[in-house]
């Protein structure tokens, strides 16, 4: 029984190293985990895939740095798909703290697919207004977004020529860390019948599931797992796919820790009981 005794008191730092290894190694080796895209994610992918060339997609950045690993990979995969199909993303931001992240992702993928700013895509940045803005977009986008994110008038960009309101957007994609999506579904979806797709953090994805069942949204991407599925569909494995391997092995490691710790605990308890306790 000595080894249980010793193992139960190994140094905390040894466990930290173990968890670090289990996260780093899969990121380097990028093992091929069979990520099977689920229906809610596939629905979004196929919808965007069959959009006619030149149609516009409104992307709303409603997350911040704390949920970057779960949202950024999906943003990049979606943008790759849009540029590949000549679909024009229009980016707006509801969470100011997410603006730099949205811009970073957009510029990175635009450079990668050499898309031209103002022709193939545009970034309108953050404007306060929340619900009033969502309703305003039903009438005229320029009421709220007369300037782009660098304060240049939107009318100087060809992409904005025939964009006025929701009718001009084939799809609204909300990347959500909080509950802003409830307002999108109620106002953009409910009042203006705008087609909506949502990407949520793993924590809040289950809450939005019934929107998908009731067809108020066309699809739902949940956390890094959803993002990985989208990367597999776009067959450009990147952070999310690599991340999913590390995520899986870390979960298994923690589960093994719990199981092993409890075995040692129960063995210890029986030993004490057998000795009748001092």
């Amino acid at each position: 029984m000595k080894i249980f005794e010793k193992l139960a008191h190994i140094d905390r730092r040894f466990i930290y190293i173990l968890i670090a290894i289990v996260v780093i190694v899969p990121l380097l080796l990028k093992p091929k985990l069979p990520i099977i895209p689920t229906k809610p994610v596939k629905d979004i992918y196929e919808y965007v895939e069959n959009l006619p060339e030149g149609s516009n997609v409104l992307i709303s950045i409603d997350y911040d740095a704390a949920s970057m690993p779960e949202q950024q990979p999906f943003l990049e995969a979606l943008l790759r798909q849009c540029f590949r199909n000549k679909i024009k993303p229009v980016m707006i931001v509801q969470w100011q703290l997410g603006a730099p992240l949205g811009t970073q992702g957009l510029e990175k993928i635009a450079r990668e697919c050499n898309a031209v700013y103002g022709v193939d895509y545009i970034n309108l940045g953050y404007r306060p207004g929340y619900v009033a803005q969502m309703v305003g977009l039903g009438r005229e986008i320029r009421d709220y977004f007369s300037m782009d994110y660098r304060n240049v008038s939107v009318d100087s960009f060809p992409i904005m020529k025939n964009i006025h309101n929701y009718n001009d957007f084939a799809l609204l994609v909300g990347l959500e860390a909080g509950s802003t999506y409830l307002a999108w579904v109620e106002y953009a979806g409910g009042r203006f019948k705008q087609k909506i797709a949502l990407a949520l953090n793993a924590v809040s994805a289950p809450d939005a599931y019934y929107f998908y069942q009731s067809k108020q949204i066309i699809g739902l991407v949940g956390g890094m797992k959803g993002a990985a599925e989208y990367e597999v569909l776009e067959n450009k494995a990147d952070l999310a796919v690599a991340g999913m391997a590390s995520q899986s092995y870390s979960h298994i490691l923690i589960i093994l820790f719990i199981i092993f710790g409890n075995i040692a605990y129960f063995v210890e308890k029986n030993r004490k009981k057998k000795e009748g306790g001092k």
Binding site: H9, R12, A132, G136, R139, D143, H164, N165, N167, R191, F192, K193
Partner: protein, 434 residues
């Protein structure tokens, strides 16, 4: 006690059910399907259905229409007439959406003036309306009686003018009636129990089973000759869980004084430290042992989250307490504290209202006071009428909620379940009221 709650419940149930809402019957004229819609064909008739937006601050007109499914992807542009001035208020609305609102926005507060008469006409078009058409619609020479107008690209069909309609502000928001009733009932419940508590009537609170774990923990720790450590977390004196933690500290300190062992209280905030020193001193004098109270046992560590955790960790390893109490406001650092406490074999009793940290405490500690239990424990110890009244009042509300939910089950089974007409209506009424 239960008898009184039942009386209160009957009163509230009665109030809820007397307010049934008359269903507004919306008459509507259906639109002829597109086949019969030829330029000279039948007109749309008074196609738009107008009403003031209820329960609003005025300046809002609700416009709704019925679009047959054959016309669902047509566009509708709405023209408003006030006296002889005409204005296009909405362009290219999908016919299938069925409704639009002409309201004042923050920028343009005088779009709709309460009390003035407005007339609305719908212009149906297969494609998006052109700019010239919009200007033409608002010019004076246009006679709105005509059925169709054509421009270079398509034919527009005009409906008859419907109206007049006036917008008005309502003085009471009917949709929030249930909130009003609930607020009245709840406030009445609170005041009722405050009076009872103040009049000294001892309202009964059950003993929280975590508290006798306190007795056992302190006892076992003194047997082993080890000190007790009490950690108040990283809250401030204004945080409710910290206040509750200080109350429980009083009880634990009194027990420690009786067993004549040492109590260590490492603190995150100087103000919390001074308050803790007062609480422990008072507890020691109450137990008749002011002489063994040592001010330095309650000390200030640091005001940084993980620095505090590291400091307390070091102290735990050195002092090897037999019992560790974690009562107050905790965040991510709680895991380091609970883990070290477990590894030195101490009995750990935790308590916090932070739902994010509770799972980790339950898994790592011997006993955990979950959220409200911690409040109830501090009230059980201190019997302060203010808190006693509110805990019992909240229990009263929980009874009301549970009874309404049980009622929901009964109606749910009988109504939709066995399709008994009237119960089904009652069931939907209950849902609509809430």
């Amino acid at each position: 006690m239960l008898r009184r709650n039942l009386v209160i419940f009957l009163l509230s149930a009665l109030a809820l059910f007397t307010f049934a809402f008359p269903q507004e019957a919306a008459s509507s004229s259906t639109l002829p399907d597109s086949a019969s819609l030829t330029p000279e064909g039948s007109s749309l008739g008074s196609f738009l259905h107008l009403s003031d937006i209820p329960n609003d601050g005025g300046g809002g007109i609700e416009i709704s229409w019925e679009a047959g499914d054959s016309l669902s992807n047509y566009f509708i542009t709405i023209v408003r007439r006030e006296g002889d001035k005409r204005k296009v208020v909405a362009t290219d609305i999908l016919a299938s959406s069925g409704q639009a609102r002409d309201v004042n926005s923050d920028e343009d507060r005088t779009n709709i003036k309460d009390g003035t008469e407005y007339y609305y006409t719908a212009v149906l078009s297969e494609f998006m309306i052109s700019q010239e058409m919009i200007d033409y619609l608002t010019c004076d020479s246009l006679d709105m009686k005509v059925f169709t107008i054509a421009d270079s690209s398509q034919v527009y069909v005009l409906s008859d003018e419907s109206g007049p309609v006036k917008s008005k502000a309502s003085w009471f928001n009917l949709e929030r009636l249930t909130v009003l009733i609930s607020a009245i009932i709840i406030t009445f419940l609170f005041l009722w129990y405050f009076q009872l508590a103040k009049k000294g009537k001892d309202l009964y609170i059950r003993k929280i089973n975590g508290l006798d774990a306190v007795e056992e923990a302190v006892g076992r720790s003194t047997e082993m000759g080890k000190p007790i450590m009490y950690i108040l977390g990283i809250g401030y004196v204004t945080d409710i869980p910290t206040i509750a933690g200080l109350t429980i500290l009083g009880r634990v300190a009194k027990k420690v004084a009786e067993y004549e062992t040492k109590i260590l209280v490492p603190s995150y905030d100087p103000v919390v430290m001074t308050t803790a020193q007062e609480v422990v001193k008072e507890a020691y004098t109450e137990a008749g042992r002011p002489d063994i109270y040592n001010k330095n046992d309650i000390m200030y560590i640091t005001q940084d989250q993980f620095g505090y955790a590291a400091g307390v960790d070091g102290m735990m390893m050195r002092e090897k307490p037999g019992a560790v109490f974690l009562q107050g406001l905790f965040f991510a650092e709680s895991l380091i504290l609970a883990e070290t406490g477990h590894s030195i074999g101490a009995i750990q009793i935790a308590g916090t209202t932070e739902t994010a940290q509770l799972p980790f405490f339950v898994a790592a500690c011997d006993y955990t006071l979950i959220g409200e239990e911690m409040m109830a424990a501090s009230v059980y110890l201190q019997k302060d009428p203010l808190m006693l009244g509110s805990i019992v009042a909240e229990d009263g509300m929980k009874v009301i909620i549970v009874v309404i939910l049980v009622l929901g089950i009964v109606l749910g089974i009988l109504g939709p379940g066995f399709h008994i007409g009237i119960i089904d209506k009652l069931f939907n009424l209950l849902i609509e009221i809430l």
